[in-house]
């Protein structure tokens, strides 16, 4: 029997669920639209002004030049991870939104596909806002920086699908703590955002290769600083392949969870 790929079961109706999430986001514009601006701003000012005084040169760049572009990646990571964990869980379990949609012509693949697409969109929004902020501060060194939103799109899909896998198996809201504290937070610190990976002892440096965030930070920083090289393509391939797997795992596990 041929393997039936869950992602092939998605239809154009993925867009319908995306539209619903988008409409609610726009409804809440007063609380949603400004944090993606304020958060990177605070980080850049605090760390740039503060640490930047002491840390003067990282691989030929100033500290702030090294650090700031990475916030596009971290912004994308947190936006999509939170959306596809906490927000999706609330919709699924407390509001029973998915149940309502499943009584219509939309299938579970459409629903989860739409949710992941929305998580990806939020990642794109965050990354683009950060790009705008760092450009305003004069921290982008080249026009290549305009490629950052495209990388964020791929990164968003990666984190949305990974997070959706988690959401499909957690029994309670509190269980997300494992994912956030033992997954997202270590990634945040050890994926080359704050210091180059060369600082990690060689015995554990290889672990960073397994961090999804590493493969987003590397190309995004390179694009911002105009330091493009061909091997960056492998980071994109890494993200694409893992996304493909995660999307299918998420769809499959969600069907098992919700359709009984």
């Amino acid at each position: 029997m041929p393997l039936e790929l869950p992602m092939l079961k998605m239809s154009y109706r993925v867009y319908r669920i995306w539209q619903r999430d988008r409409d609610i986001y726009l409804n809440a514009w007063a609380t949603e639209l400004w944090p993606p601006f304020v958060e990177p701003l605070l980080s850049i000012v605090a760390l740039g002004l503060g640490l930047g005084y002491y840390v003067t040169d990282i691989n030929g760049m100033s500290f702030i030049q090294f650090l700031a572009p990475a916030f596009a990646a971290t912004g994308a990571m947190y936006a999509s991870a939170f959306e596809c964990t906490y927000a999706s869980f609330v919709r699924m379990v407390y509001q029973k939104t998915f149940d309502a949609i499943l009584a219509t012509p939309c299938t579970i693949e459409d629903v989860i596909g739409g949710e992941m697409l929305w998580g990806t969109t939020r990642a794109l929004i965050s990354a683009t806002v950060v790009l705008f902020v760092i450009a305003v501060f004069g921290l982008t060194q080249s026009w290549w920086a305009l490629g950052i939103p495209f990388v964020a799109l791929l990164q968003g899909l990666l984190f949305s699908s990974m997070s959706m896998v988690i959401t499909s198996i957690v029994p309670t809201f509190g269980a997300f703590n494992y994912y956030i504290t033992l997954g997202i937070t270590p990634m945040f610190f050890f994926s080359g955002v704050f210091f180059p990976l060369e600082r990690l002892p060689e015995s554990i440096r290889w672990l960073a290769w397994f961090s999804p965030l590493t493969h987003a930070v590397t190309p995004i920083r390179a694009l911002a600083n105009g330091q493009i090289h061909a091997s960056l393509i492998w980071d994109l391939v890494w993200m694409a392949v893992v996304s493909l797997v995660m999307v299918n795992v998420a769809l499959s596990l969600m069907r098992r969870r919700l359709v009984k």
Partner: protein
């Protein structure tokens, strides 16, 4: 020529080794209001979920509007409306937006969606509340909105899972009144309930379900006529008194059923019984007509409502 809207043969649903529906057969025809009457846990909601494609069937045959559910669930869903048991309205949107977003799942263009939403809101008397957030609505209003939502796509079949559970009497009566209107306009409806008055009032035909099986089928009055004499005496008293009474109350077509501290006595003419037997020992005697609840009691030995 009566068209079959739903057909089930040997329908079975097993969850994790627990049989919720144990092989049932039924036919539902266009234009009728068909009921599933039974206590909690009878398998009514499970059956509904199989009909509207939420749960896959374990065994048997089930077709809706001519299409087997194992074939093309999506096509079926375009043509049906589902009013779920629990309230799954979108708390983040107001009344009107809830309807417009739901209409979009059926690919309805915005203009049509607005038109249909207005129709439904006016029918269910919610037009003035169209910009209210969901949390400001009463239970009855939310239920009416849920039914309105299910009607947006002008479904050929409307499925209502316990539509008035949890509503106050006023709200229930409004919902019944509107559902009767829908029935009169020709909407085919399937209803599950554990209230016999709801089943008797709304349903043209119904099945009585218990523990995953169908025990009886027919029109409400037929079912009563088939299984019981028409009148009931409900007698409350002590265990001893009731037992004694039950032993003495015999006669032509006289049936008795004792449940807890109540003795139900069924007869064609209860007045005759009262004259023949001395019921003074007992505290309360209520005199009424037989209902579907009595039929359920007769068939299962237990009360419909716990």
């Amino acid at each position: 020529m009566h068209e079959k809207v739903v057909e089930a043969r040997g329908l079975v649903k097993v969850y994790n080794g627990n049989p919720a529906v144990r092989g049932i057969d039924f036919d539902i025809y266009r234009g009728e209001c068909f009921g599933f009457l039974g206590p909690n846990g009878a398998g009514k909601s499970t059956t509904m979920r199989m009909i509207y494609g939420f749960s896959p069937i374990t065994e048997g045959y089930l077709s809706v509007l001519g299409t087997p559910v194992t074939q093309n669930i999506r096509r079926i869903k375009y043509q049906i409306g589902v009013v779920p048991q629990e309230d799954n309205l979108d708390e983040d949107m107001d009344v009107l937006k809830n309807l417009l977003v739901y209409a979009r799942y059926f690919d309805m263009p915005r203009k049509l969606a607005l038109q249909r939403a207005q129709e439904q809101l006016e029918f269910w008397q919610l037009w003035e509340r169209r910009h209210s957030p969901i949390r400001e609505l009463s239970g009855g209003m939310k239920r009416r909105l849920l039914i309105g939502r299910a009607m947006l796509n002008r479904p050929l079949l409307l499925i209502l899972d316990e539509p008035t559970t949890g509503l106050d009497p006023q709200a229930r009566h409004l919902v019944w009144q509107k559902l009767r209107q829908l029935r009169d306009e020709g909407t085919t409806m399937i209803l599950t309930t554990h209230y016999m008055d709801e089943a008797a009032q709304l349903c043209d035909r119904l099945v009585i379900m218990n523990d995953g099986q169908i025990l009886a089928e027919g029109a409400p009055s037929e079912l009563i006529r088939e299984h019981l004499p028409g009148q009931v005496l409900e007698i409350r008293g002590t265990e001893l008194d009731l037992q004694g009474l039950q032993a003495r109350l015999t006669g032509d077509n006289v049936l008795t059923e004792k449940v807890g501290d109540i003795l139900y006595v069924y007869a064609d003419n209860v007045d005759d019984l009262r004259q023949k037997f001395d019921l003074g020992c007992c505290q309360e005697v209520i005199y009424r007509l037989s209902t579907l609840e009595d039929v359920f009691l007769r068939l299962t030995g237990r009360a419909l409502l716990e």
